[in-house]
Structures are given as C-alpha cells and as structure tokens.
Amino acid sequence: MTDQRSQAEIVRQSLKRRYRKERRFRLYGILAIFIALASLFILFADIIGKGHTGFVKTTITLDVPLNSDAMYLDDPTDKDQISMADFSAPIIAALQTHFPEAEGGSARRELARMVGSYAPSEVRRLLEKNPELLNTTQTMEFLAHDTVSVYVKHADNPSYSIRLSERQQGWVDELVEKGVIDTSFNDVLFSRGDSREPGNAGILGAIVGSLLTMLVTLAISFPMGIAAAIYLEEFAPQNRITDFIEVNINNLAAVPSIIFGLLGLAVFIGLFGMPRSVPVVGGLVLALMTLPTIIISSRAAIKSVPPSIREAAEGIGASKMQVVLHHVVPLAMPGMLTGSIIGMAQALGETAPLLLIGMVAFIVDVPDGFFSSATVLPVQIYLWASSSEQGFVELASAGIMVLLAFMISMNALAIWLRKRLERRW
Amino acid sequence: MPTKKDDVYGDHISHKFNDELMELKTEFLKMGGMVEAQVDRAIQALVDNDGHLADEVRAGDKKVDQMEMDIDEEATLIIARRQPTARDLRLVISVIKMVADLERVGDEAKKIAKFAIKLNEEGQAPRGYVEVRHIGNHVLSMLHDALDAFARLDSQQALRIMKEDKRVDEEYQAATRTLLTFMMEDTRNISRCMSVMWVLRALERVGDHACNIAENVIFMVKGEDVRHTPVEEAEKVVGR
C-alpha cells in the first residue's frame, strides 16, 4: 500500500513537471507567433503609412487665358510658331489672377514652379488639338509641382523637408482654401509609365512588363515542370541517371537567383543574341528559376496520390498512360497548381536576375509586346526607392502595396484552386 | 484426469480458450465417472437386493441430468465465443453428442435401479442375475474404456470398443434365450424374468451408448465419421 501511495505521489509530481513543461512550450509558441504577427503588422503599417499618399495626386485647377500675345503665338497650326511659343505664360497669368500682387521675375518664377513641369506642354497639346481655342479662357487641371504636392500632403510630417518659400507656402495655403489646389485619387499611377517627375510617374509600365514576363514564365515553366515531374515520378526507371537528375533538380532549387540572371545574360542575350531588357528574356530566365520549384512540388503532389487509386485503375486494366492521365494527374492537379502559383509568385517578386539582363533601364513607355523594352514591378520599386526625389519615396511604397496585392491575389487564387479542385478520397 | 496428451488442446494463443476446452473435457470425464458409478451401483443394488442403494441411484440421476445441462451450456458458450475449428470443433461437437449418450446411460442406470426395487419388493429367488452381472461388467468395462479412450484420444482403443459391442449383443441374445427357458419352465417366473429382461435390455443399451462414445472418439481424433459404417471401414480410418 505504501508503495502504491508513494508511486502515486511520484506520478503526481512528475505530472506537475510535465504540465509546467507543456505550458512553457505553449508559451514559446504563442510568443513566436506574436513576434511574427507584430513584425508583419509593423511592416504593413510602415508601408501603408508611407505609401498611402502615393495613391493621392495634388492638382491645381486654373482658368487659363490662352492669349496669343502672352504666348507669342498667332497660329497654333504653324509648327515653327508652336515650338517657339511660351506656354507657361498663360499658366502664370492664370495664377496671377489669384495673386495680383505677385509681380516681377522672381515671383513669376515661383508661380511657375507651383505647377508640374509638364503643365506648359499640356497647354501646348490642347492648342495643337484645338487651334480654335486660341484667345479664349479654358479651365484646365494641372498636376501640382512636386514641392507643392509634398507641402500639401506632408506639411506636418517632419521627415519631409519643405522646399517652398514662405511666399509660395502662403499662396498654396490660400489656393487650398479656395479649392483651387485639391487632392484626388492618383489615376496617373495606374495609367502611365515611369517618369523623372514623381507626380507624373506611373506604375502601369511595370505592371504590364510584369504580366508579360509572367506569361512567358508560365507558358514555359508550367508545362515543362509538370511534364518533367510526371515523367520522373511515373515513367522514369529508377537508376543512377534519374537519381543524378533528381539530386540536381533539388540543387537547382537552391541556386541563388542571380546565377540564373548570369545564365540568361550569357545564353539568351550573349549566345542567341536576343534583345536586352525585354519580357521574353526575363520570362525565360524566371522560367528557369521557377522550374525546379514546380517540378519538386508537382512530384510531391503526384506522390501524395494514394496508391490505392492507381491500383484500382490498374486492376481494371487501365494502361500506365491512362492511369496517369485519368487519375493521377487530375488528383495531383491542385497540388501542382498550388506549387506552380507559388513558384510564379516567387518569380513575380524576383529582381536580381532581371537586373543582369537589363530590365532595370529607365523606360517611360508602357511596353506593347514581348519584345519591347520593359521593366517589372520589383525593379520599378527598386528604382524608385533608390531615387533621390522626395515624391518617389511614397511611390515606392505604393508600388510595394501594388506588388503585395498581386502576390496576395495570386496566393488567394492558389488557395481557391486547391479548394475547388481538391477531392477527398 | 488430464494427461500429457491434453496439450493437444492446450496451446492456443488464447489461454482462456485452453482453459475452457480443458474444463469441458474435465467436466465430461467427471460426468462419465459419475454415470459409470451409477450403472455400477444400480447393478450392485439389483444383484445384492439392496433397495436403499437403488433409491440412491435413482436420486443420483438428477445430478447426472444437471451435469448434462451444464456441459451443454459450456459447449454452446465455446461455440458462440470461440467459433472453434478443426480439432477443437470436433472436440466440442463430440462432447455435445457424447453427453447425450452419457445422459441416456444415466437413464438406463435409473431404470435398472427401478427394476431392482421392484424385484426386491417381489422378493423371490433371483433368476438370470448371473447374466446381468456378466453383461453388466462387460458394458461397464466398455463404458470405462470408452471414457478412457476419450481421455487419451486413443482411437485404437475406441475401435476395440466398437468391436466389443458385437459381443455384448451376442451375450444379450444368449441371456434372453436363457430367460425364455426360465419362463417356459415356470409361468410364475414370467413377470420376474420380464423385469430381468428389461434390465438386460438396459445394459445392452449402455453398451450401445459406450459404442457411440467410441465412435465419437474416433471422429474427434481422426476427423472421420464412422457411425453407420462397417467396422472394417472404421478400422481403415483408425489405421491411417
């Protein structure tokens, strides 16, 4: 009896210890998750905090008097005259209607720097299109100058330095009050390519570039990866050669992506003479990089198809090919798709190999084909983030948000596809 | 009386099953011993004119009946619980059948005891008891040997018992003829001799039952049913 009692005592004591251990272990887990969540939260808060203003543009709406005298322009259809004409004069004049006291050279210069540097060319384009508007007054909306934009958006943010003079600040305040200077959704961001001027810079070029590149990557790596996985898993004999291939595929997955960039540079551009900084080459390089991921995940998906299904089909008399095509591949498809999409998402966020094949160039035009120069989202973000202009900081963050949105929607697509296609057996 | 040969039923994975089979066997042998004693005592009561002993035998039959029911239940439980096969199945089935035989033997002993009381009450000079004693001893030894054959799984011995049965039948015929002569000698003997005839008939039945038991033992050991087959056939089975 005493023995039993003491044994119970021992058990109880060790139980206490066990429970303590268990609690501690659970605490570590919760802590780890908390840290991860906190980091994520900080990251998002930082990016959104910095980037949300990137989605806002500052505009100045002015009644522009298109006087031929002020512009030294009699006939807008005359090419020579147009090229000589002064299109900033009517803008200054329009601003002067708000601030009649601003006279003189320095005031005029300061007034001119209220609107973006592309404002005069907008006036010019308007007149080129509609010569009959000469000597009328037109209400036009201009992008504000970056310094104005920074002042309007970040007047109370100490991390931005205000580069407006006292007088300009006064004008801006007044114009904001009057509603002449206004902020609205930044449609420029999604409708234009890159620019030297933050207010005029858009991300569309990069988005289209990324899409084209991804299309090439998908078209090459998905069928190739799945075909390779099926062959290796189902048909390849088990011997040294296949073992060797298997080991190397696994190794390739671990090769730094910049190596693939070097390979692309040497082979596609150097050997095959393909043009630099085009989506086709970028897609090819990224496809090479994604292939191992797709092969590995597809093989795992094929392996996870229960052997009983294979046996069932074989038992009825299905040939190897029929077993694979009718049963194994459909059942492995969700896994293959998930792996591929995750691989694609990885490729979407890849910068290093693309830097090497020249997709880092400053490209203003939205690419219109697989062979036109383009850049991609992460490279665009890299370019903006390393730019000195203050306005690019928020744009870079906005770009990151766009990129993240793409990633999240791709992952969501992966999850949706898996849920949709997954069958229980 | 478990012997070394009991391990034939003894090495199942389930020890409980071993115990159950062993229990069945032991109970059956116990009942066999009891029935044997019943017959022995009934003959004793008849021959010695012992009315008291005869009463005891009649009372003892209740116990035999009870045992029959107990063993049957045990056997039923084993079938239900264990689904015995092959050797085990044959053991259980044989025991169920042999228990019925033993019970009948018990009934015969009771019948003999009844006639012993009757003859005792009539109180006349014994006639034909020599035959009773002779046949009685013979069937008793057959019964004993049958049970022994069962205990030792001895099919050879069982075969011998089957052959014995013929001799019992002959002895029975001879005894009947003797009694018939008695009856013809003196008609007053008829009622008495008829009673003795019944006793002889009962003993002959005991021999038949012993023979049945022997046949079941052969089935148990050899897995071959030798009932309703000529002895030569049974010999071949046992010789295999």
Binding site: S308, I309, E311, A312, G315, R423, W425 | A86, K222
Partner: protein, 298 residues
C-alpha cells in the same frame, strides 16, 4: 524420439503418431515444423482448370517470397487463400493478374496459365489480362468521381460500349449484380467517396464486373468493413460464384469457411494444404493448417 522423425510424421498428418512422438518436456515447437518444398497436401489439382499454376516462385530482390507453388483453380469455384501475415498469399494472388509488375524488384518464375495461355508470356498484354482477371482490393478504393463514372470507367477505356445507352445498361447491370442498384439508382451522379464503406466496396466489385471479367481476385475485401457490410459482400460473393471464378485472400477464417469451396493454406511462402473448405475446417490434413485455423498461431 528425435525431432526429424516427428516432423516427417507431422507431414504424414497422423495425429496419433505425432502425439505419441511428442514428449511432454520437448514438445514440437511450431517454428520447427518444416514444410517440404513444393509438396502440398490435399487436392491442389483440378480437371479443366481456369488457372493452371505450376512451380510458381516469386522473388523480391534476393528474397524468395513464394516457394515452388503448384495449384489449379477450377472454373466457377470460390477458392480462398488463408495463412498468417507475410505468408505470401497476397503476393501469390497478385501474380494472377500481374499486379506485381509495377514493383521493380519483383520477379515471377514458373508456369502460370489462364485457359492454357501463359499470362507471363512476353507477348501477353497485361491490359487484356486485367480485363479478364478483375481485382477488388482490401481498402475500398473508388475513384473520386461519380458512382456512374466509377462503374463506367472500365467499359470506357476498353471500348466495350459505343453508345451511351449501352454504357447505361452495363452500369445498371453491374450495379444490380453487385446488389447496389436499388441503393444508388437515384444518385448515380453523387460522388462515390460519399458512400459508406460497405457500399464503396460493393461499388468496387461492380466496377470490376463491369468489364465482364472471367476471374475476380479479392484481396481481403472485407477487412475494412463492419459485420453487416461484410455479410452483404459475402452474400454477393456466393451469388457471383455462379458466373465467375473467384479467388479471395482473407484473414478471417470464418469468412473463408463461409464463402469458399476450396481453401488453400499458405505458410512462409509455401502452399501447405489445399482442400475442400469443409474438410479444412473440420479435419485438416496438415498439422500446420490445423494449428493455424484453430488459433494456435498466426
């Protein structure tokens, strides 16, 4: 008395002699009972067999899993393979429709004839063989498709039905034969994986008979089923035995006793005994068979 002698007598299967050969102290241990290779007691051969198997040996690499087995499987008989785990009964069963082919290290030797055709002949098409010799597996393994598609799959890939109506007919007949039609006729489009285990297994049987095979191999078809579902499958087997030759591997000796005409007992790759099922379960000839079916080892 020395051990060898008692062993040889064990092979003679005379209980009497084995027993008297046993000494109380040194009883024959089951592990010591050796089986003479290629020697099967009972009635392994049949007239006009469906399967004629002679000197079959199966190797897994260097490992000899099946050791010189000769057996006939008669037409329209139900034969069950029993034996302790790892005795080779499943391996042997899988030789009959070459399911072992997919295992690289597995080699089969000997003569395996189905209706006088060598099924391991290099020119023999395994697809055709499997259309003739169907298989039902241990775990119900319906395809994750509709009930209809499950049954229709075999006929489709073999091109047995040209029109939809033909296919419908095959599906209905197969489901009827499998005793499943009344239960599923209103939900043929439902996925098969939603059915109960017993229904799934009967669906697998329906799927196997949809290609009208001549032989159906069953590898422990009821081991994953509850008793009621088992009873239904067994009932089905009895009904099917009129039209098909059925070979069934089972761990349940009672099942073998219930459904099969003949029973074959395997032990460590040997075929020890083949006999009428009634004979095996009342008085088996071989010591090992007896020990196994009476629950003395296994």
């Amino acid at each position: 008395m020395n051990m060898n002698e008692s062993i040889s007598r064990a092979a003679d299967n005379s209980d009497e002699t084995v027993m008297s050969a046993q000494e109380p102290e040194a009883e024959t241990r089951r592990e010591d009972i050796k089986v003479e290779e290629g020697k099967t007691v009972g009635v392994p051969y049949a007239d006009d067999p469906k399967f004629k198997l002679r000197n079959v040996e199966v190797f897994y690499g260097e490992d000899r899993a099946i050791k010189d087995i000769s057996l006939d499987i008669a037409r329209n008989e139900v034969i069950s393979f029993i034996g302790p785990s790892g005795c080779g009964k499943s391996t042997f069963l899988r030789c009959l429709n070459r399911m072992n082919d997919s295992i690289d290290i597995c080699r089969v030797k000997g003569q395996l004839m189905l209706d006088d055709e060598d099924i391991y002949h290099s020119k023999k098409d395994v697809v055709e063989l499997r259309a003739r010799v169907g298989m039902v597996f241990q775990k119900p393994n319906p395809f994750p498709k509709s009930i209809y598609d499950n049954v229709a799959y075999g006929p489709r890939i073999h091109g047995l039905a040209n029109r939809k109506s033909d296919l419908d007919e095959i599906v209905e007949n197969s489901l009827r034969k499998a005793g499943l039609w009344d239960e599923v006729k209103d939900r043929l489009d439902a996925t098969a994986t939603g059915m109960s285990g017993g229904q799934q297994q009967r669906l697998c049987i329906a799927r196997a008979i949809a290609v009208s095979p001549e032989v159906i191999l069953m590898d422990e078809p009821c081991s994953a089923l509850d008793p009621i579902a088992t009873a239904k499958v067994e009932e089905l087997i009895s009904e099917m035995s009129e039209t098909y030759t059925i070979v069934i591997v089972t761990h349940s000796m009672q099942q073998a006793a219930r459904v099969s005409h003949r029973t074959a007992y395997f032990h460590l790759g040997h075929l020890v005994e083949v006999n009428e099922t009634t004979k095996v379960f009342t008085s088996p000839e071989h010591e090992l068979t007896e020990s196994y079916i009476t629950g003395r080892f296994g």
